[in-house]
Symmetry: C2
């Protein structure tokens, strides 16, 4: 089952895809007389069988501007249904709630997701197209190999996406071994690869696309730690030390991914000397980045400094005119999540910057007028 959420943003293709796949799993609706079913009025109110459109309507209100907090009992009931009966719609509700704008709801849903036994090593749900388990991979997969307009490379050794510096920049021999144990897949944007705290099943190599790594506080506040790009590897450290994933990974764009099971990674590590060195380098880089993040996030007194740094880091390094640089679209909310602040503060600071003539907005585009001024702010 695809873990794509934020229904309202999905292309029809994706939604159809997802729901068709959901349909493949045997549906067992809760026995109305069971305790679980009676846990919450909300759960009982669900019809015994819901057409796809109805399901969509039901989930969408979660993202309304004044979001209602979802009854925790309802979420728990969903969790129970999913755990006990593998009811896909229940998991779907949880995933949607995990994206809810309401902090409590989001936090609660995510913690339930993280504790799900379905997210353990033997059931790789979030990585559906090439899941190594039998019952999931032998149905309609073959017809869906290359959606979202991306080419899917079946063979790592002949992969045209690979560039210098990629994690998969191994020798031919090692690459061949990697190819034998890895599972390629394509996912749409907003798909959740894994959730913070969930037991590590393996790692994901990003062949193309971008993936956001984030962490959620108990209050539901989200901090986007980084955006991993093509060539990077996700979940490496968690897979190696066999602990829970340290962050939540969610595709920011359609992605081609390569999944490698934990055990296979450890095998590669044992049997191919270069893998150890390679992994050590990758982890070192990630570690350095994490410390830089700590420094930047904790030590910077003002949000203004952090915002300035964010803007600078997101502005392309093309010194065309050495003065102005455009800036990608990012909502204020997302910027706030990247600097560990609130939406309001970002809005405030941005208008300050505009007043100070440091930036200018051109439609939905942000233009940096005074790079040096920003750099001074970034301390």
């Amino acid at each position: 089952m695809l873990l794509t959420n934020r229904v309202q943003l999905m292309r029809p293709l994706v939604a159809g895809n997802l729901l068709r796949r959901s349909g493949l799993v045997s549906i067992r609706w809760p026995d109305p007389s069971s305790d679980h079913a009676r846990l919450s009025a909300g759960w009982n109110a669900l019809p015994a069988r819901r057409p796809e459109t109805e399901l969509l309507r039901e989930v969408a209100p979660l993202a309304s501007p004044n979001p209602e907090k979802i009854d925790p009992l309802y979420l728990f009931a969903c969790h129970t249904q999913w755990e006990l009966h593998e009811e896909p719609s229940a998991a779907w509700e949880l995933l949607a709630a995990g994206q809810s704008p309401h902090p409590d709801t989001r936090a609660h849903a995510r913690s339930l997701l993280a504790s799900s036994r379905h997210f353990d090593a033997d059931r790789p749900i979030p990585e559906p197209e090439s899941a190594p388990t039998e019952e999931q991979s032998l149905d309609t997969e073959t017809t869906m190999k290359a959606p979202y307009g991306l080419d899917l490379n079946d063979d790592c050794t002949e992969c045209t996406l690979r560039k210098p510096g990629f994690f998969c920049g191994f020798s031919k021999e090692t690459l061949h071994a990697l190819n034998l144990v890895s599972h390629k897949s394509v996912l749409p944007a907003r798909a959740v690869l894994f959730v913070e705290g969930q037991a590590a099943r393996g790692l994901f190599i990003i062949c193309s696309g971008k993936v956001n790594l984030s962490t959620t506080s108990r209050e539901g506040k989200i901090l986007i730690l980084k955006t991993a790009e093509a060539g990077e590897v996700l979940g490496l450290s968690a897979a190696i030390s066999n602990v829970g994933y340290e962050a939540t990974a969610e595709t920011a764009t359609p992605c081609q991914l390569n999944f490698v099971d934990r055990k296979q990674i450890l095998d590669l590590l044992e049997n191919h000397k270069e893998v150890g060195v390679h992994v050590a380098h990758c982890l070192s880089r990630d570690f350095q980045a994490a410390y830089r993040d700590i420094h930047d996030l904790v030590m910077t007194r003002s949000s203004a400094g952090k915002l300035a740094r964010l803007l600078l880091s997101h502005s392309a390094d093309d010194d065309e005119s050495a003065e102005r640089r455009v800036h990608s679209t990012m909502t204020h909310e997302e910027m706030a999540q990247r600097i560990g602040s609130s939406r309001e503060t970002v809005t405030r600071l941005l208008s300050d910057l505009k007043k100070k003539q440091l930036i200018r907005s051109e439609g939905s585009l942000l233009v940096i007028r005074d790079r040096c001024g920003l750099e001074a702010l970034a301390v």
Copy 2:
């Protein structure tokens, strides 16, 4: 030269040791007519030769309760003297200033230290006892092998300090190779192993003792990231990726250390398969810890939560009475530096906790009266 600072805390033995060693380096005082010497009145005011006691008096005032900001030009002059003439007293001033309570002075001094060419790979100053370079290691070293009441193990393969889980838990063969390339040393408390940003010369394995890892903001605010214990390794990631150390390491207790040069580490990594796996595991652990730190430091809204967590993490896990636990001595200032807050806030919060009957102070000891209450605060 020993990089021990905070003169006022040093035992006589240590101070004498340090200054004797300083005397070994040829002293070349600045030519009064040179530009560097005229940079600052403070520098010119120094006598051409200062007895040890005078040096001590001069450094001590840096830590006065109402610290004076040291003239940046004077610091820069020190830096210049040290860089150009290898004047030890100048480096000494910088190191003392790097511990100054005055934020600006501290920040400035540390950044000068970090940019020192003397901290590059070919001149391992902070690790004096067993420095591989000739001119430093062939004088009085042999008579100073085991100060501070610690036994110094010359041979890793027969080291009695090694315990399961230690970084040096290699096979006999690898351990032998490690032994050949590593340099043992003993350092007093408050010695600086390396400074944030400084080019990585190699790594330090902690045989015994504790080392604080910290990072400093531009404003001079210090954040203590972690206290590394015996068996842990410092600077591993920086050595592997050959970038600057990600934090400043300073011994918290007298320590036995084992230094391994960068190149030797890479050699070991290449030639001993188990090293790669081992390093990968260590880095994974560190990485996980860093992410946990980010989560705890950035996502926890209130300082109260962070303080509660700090207290809990520092209380011994001996559930003798399941209700109260003692807590090590740590100044409010240090607690503040560990949770990224200010001394004032810590003082305030602690008295709050006392009012709420969650903790109690017994002399210089802190007693946790209500573990559960604290845990609730820690979110």
